[in-house]
């Protein structure tokens, strides 16, 4: 299972290495480590985000090991949605059952609409919706887009995708 953890380290030499030790001990496979030394917290600690794969039964052991060594664990949890994409819809977004549109994505289990903004200039005029969708992987992002294209055709909505969604 893929998990992510936000830590806060003391700004002293050796802290980062020490924070990685339990991942080795409990056979975690580190995917990424982001160390924000230039973005200290008001307390003067250094935020670090670690994404890793591990048997979920070991997560508590890692947390305990870190805390025993004076490292603050701000958040630890499952990180299922690792890809995201922005999409814009134009048309009668609300009156074509926006709840249903969102549900078509959310009900997949592999993707969710995480952010939504609406602009409704007038009652009879087309409205616009911005959606940010997060999904478990690139392939699932692609599947979500094709669901939206389908919904767009069905509900007469213009679906505007970002250019970075796919290679040319």
């Amino acid at each position: 299972m893929r998990l992510s953890m936000d830590l806060e380290l003391q700004d002293i030499p050796g802290q980062l290495m020490q924070s990685l030790e339990p991942f080795k001990k409990y056979k975690g496979n580190i995917i990424s480590v982001v160390h924000h030394r230039d973005r200290k917290t008001p307390r003067g600690t250094v935020p670090v985000q670690i994404v890793f794969e591990i048997d979920p039964s070991n997560i508590e052991n890692i947390k305990r090991h870190l805390e025993d060594n004076g490292i603050v664990v701000v958040r630890a949890g499952e990180d299922r949605f690792i890809e995201e994409i922005s999409v814009l819809l134009i048309g009668h977004v609300l009156h074509s059952d926006l709840g249903d549109t969102i549900n078509r994505i959310d009900s997949t289990g592999f993707a969710e609409v995480e952010d939504l903004s609406l602009r409704m200039p007038g009652i009879e005029e087309p409205s616009s919706a911005y959606l940010r969708i997060r999904a478990t992987g690139k392939e699932e992002i692609g599947k979500s887009l094709s669901i939206l294209r389908h919904v767009g055709a069905e509900k007469d909505l213009l679906v505007i995708e970002p250019i970075e969604a796919e290679k040319i």
Binding site: S86, L88, G91, S117, R119, S128, I160, I163, I168
Partner: protein, 333 residues
Amino acid sequence: MREVRISLVGFGVVGHGVLEVVRRKWGLLRKMGLDMKVVSVTDINGTLFDETGIDPQRLHAAKTLEGIANLDIIGKEAIQEVDSDLVVEVTPTNIVHGQPGLGHIEEALSSGKHVVTSNKGPLVVAFNHLREVAQDNGVMLKYEATVGGTMPLISLIEKNLVGNEILGIRGIFNGTCNYILTRMMEEKYTYSYALTEAQDLGIAEADPAYDVDGIDTAGKVVILANSIFGMNARYEDVSVTGIRDITPEALNLAWERGYHIKLIGEVPSLTVKPMLVPRRSPLAVGGTLNVASIETDLSGTITVTGLGAGSIETASAIVSDIVSIYTSRQVDG
């Protein structure tokens, strides 16, 4: 000094531009060893012929050849009759049947004349056929001005990126759409208001369908697909969505989230549709600019941008094509 006898077929905005650029760059062209002479100009009224080369200033103020033409021949007949090395074909474009340009280009190539054109229609309808006719007759067909106007795209790929595999091309190929979307975003204009502004400035036609419905962009996508990717694409193969349904609210919403909305054409996927373009992307150019990103296997992604239309700008691409025909002939031995 190499004499280049040019027949200009089509005397509209681009035709005037060609005469003007040849006049302005006459000295520079001579330094390159080219003595360029426009020996004939043809429009629907007839042909003006002068064996010693037509003085462009003589035609500067003329809108058409009415009352100026000295030969009563037009079209294919004029191409046949006039003794020239190269035909510049700049008649009005028709993307459905390609005529009259298609007939003109066929006639010129089969009578052993090089052809340089800015006319998309014939290439959209019959690119592979025309390329074969050119090869069979040992002459060249150049068409840089058909895609992206003055922006060097085809020559960049064929010359500078030679050896690269071209994986894809994506870009803004219609300055009118780009202008309308830019104004809608900047001024919060409605689509119809931005369109009337573009029409008043001469950026959009009275009938804007050709531009705003994505037809022009799709034509360019077809030309790129056939010329660069060796496909046998037709206009009907392109999935096309235009910009009429874009609203200022949508542009504004996109902007707040870090995006522009641009009409993007893509090859080889053969699509034309409005897309979200990140604000910091090199494709995020405004106004009437065109832009293209070329994805290659060796050189990564290369982006070029430039003016997509205009009399002198289009003519500059045509004159560059003419020069390249006479300066890049194959070296034997």
